[in-house]
Amino acid sequence: MGAGAWFTAHVHAAERAFRRLLSQPAGTLLSVLVIGIAITLPLGLYTLFTNITAAASRVNTDPNVNVYLTLNASEAEARNLEKTLRSRANVGSIRFISRESALAEMKRIANLADLLASLETNPLPHALSIRPISVDPAALAQLRQEISAMPKVEYVVMDFEWAQKLKRFASFAERLMILLGMILALAVVFVTGNTIRLQILTQRDEIEVSRLIGATRRFIRRPFLYFGALQGLLAGLLAVAAVLGFIAWAGTEVAALTLSYGSEFALQAPSLTQAIGVTLAAMAMGWLGAFLSVWLYLRRSKP
């Protein structure tokens, strides 16, 4: 087949696929909706995940051990404790946070100025923020135990633990999302395959006659492949639109919510490259579903 004939054959096949899509608007809409939802789920989760990851990356996850002293500990006692701790083996640097500066900081970041101003006394203790040399869990546990036993120490908090947990959770969520994405991608292939199978059944006479008068497998397959890809394209666009719509709808609320906690955070929509990538992947899955369906049918039928 020459280049001109090849192009003509593809134009014919694309036209036929497009006509089939338009000739069954209700069926097409239903299939596109089902496939679109199947793509929206992993895309939505991915968007959520990237947003959580972005938020987590802004959190300081450097190992930090915070030592809170008793309320009756004086600044001199706190400074003495600082000196003692500096001589410890696993202590890198120490920052002293006075109860006054802690209160001032709290007023600044938590929008609690009015509430804190109404207090007669400062409820915050002096604190020491330690950067340990080793983050080995055993070494850290030992450090915590030693500091806890010191006089005037109320409690010791290793405030990076939750951030590490968040990272682990993000890593787990990423794997879960990949698995879910793969399962739903398979679902897209099967949904498209089933749609095409039903189409094949309605076009069985045409396929039989076409083969009798010289149609190759490629000729038979081509319009179905275009149909599957077109369906995938529409479903991909629907999924992207759904996620963008959700971000536009919920984004302002999320921004307002995080602002009330003294933080600035806005939901990020998938990038143009990601949107195109998802749409192309949906087309590819539609194409694959159609290919498998026609392949199975032709394999069983007589040449």
Partner: protein, 217 residues
């Protein structure tokens, strides 16, 4: 040229439709295959067109052994054939024009050329004024002529027709036989089956008589 050499066909049910057929149909020749129902006429035509494969012996078409052709090769070979089926095999979800255009679509003809050829074929069989009709609205004779139009639109070198005049009244049958004669006169090899004695006489061509799957000398 179509050559059968000691060709036999046994169906999976065990029925032996053809037994040791050996004959040759020359290029540009018109041959009528006759015989009673079940004599093997349709099977012989199907073997020539590669729709069925021989169980024994060979079928050569223009130097190619049809039994050894792979699927893609068969498809290419069939494009040189014009097939007129006993049951017409028309597509009732397409109009007359689209039915005739199908072989050209398979061969990836451009739209403009397709239009010209389809109208020429419909004109030849007298259905030009029905191109937008659905085949279901056509009479039996018109459906048969539509099937012929589809078979000739690709300008095939070999025309194979299975009972093209079956179930038609005399007037229609004669029109169709004359059509085949006119195709043969322009060099098309014509191989058709019929059990209509009147049609055979009108065809005035070489005749192969089959009986019980064997050629009667």
């Amino acid at each position: 040229m179509i050559a059968f050499s000691n060709t036999a066909k046994r169906y999976p049910s065990g029925f032996e439709a053809l037994k040791g057929i050996s004959c040759t149909i020359e290029k540009g020749e018109m041959v009528a295959i006759s015989g009673r129902s079940g004599a093997g006429k349709s099977t012989l035509l199907k073997l020539a067109a590669g729709i069925e494969r021989a169980s024994q012996g060979s079928v050569m078409v223009n130097g190619q052994n049809v039994s050894q052709l792979k699927e893609a090769g068969l498809a290419v070979m069939r494009r040189n054939f014009g097939l007129v089926f006993q049951d017409h095999k028309l597509l009732f979800d397409r109009n007359v024009f689209e039915n005739v255009a199908l072989p050209l679509s398979i061969a990836a003809f451009p739209h403009a050329e397709t239009g010209k050829r389809v109208r020429a074929a419909l004109d030849k069989v007298g259905l030009l004024n029905r191109e937008r009709s659905n085949p279901v609205t056509l009479s039996g004779g018109e459906q048969q002529r539509l099937c012929i139009a589809r078979a000739i639109v690709n300008r095939p070198s070999i025309l194979v027709a299975d009972e093209p005049t079956g179930n038609l009244d005399r007037e229609y049958a004669e029109t169709i036989i004359d059509l085949f004669k006119s195709f043969n006169q322009v060099g098309v090899t014509v191989l058709l089956s019929t059990h209509d004695e009147g049609g055979l006489a009108r065809l005035n061509c070489r005749r192969l008589l089959l009986d019980g799957g064997k050629l009667v000398p």
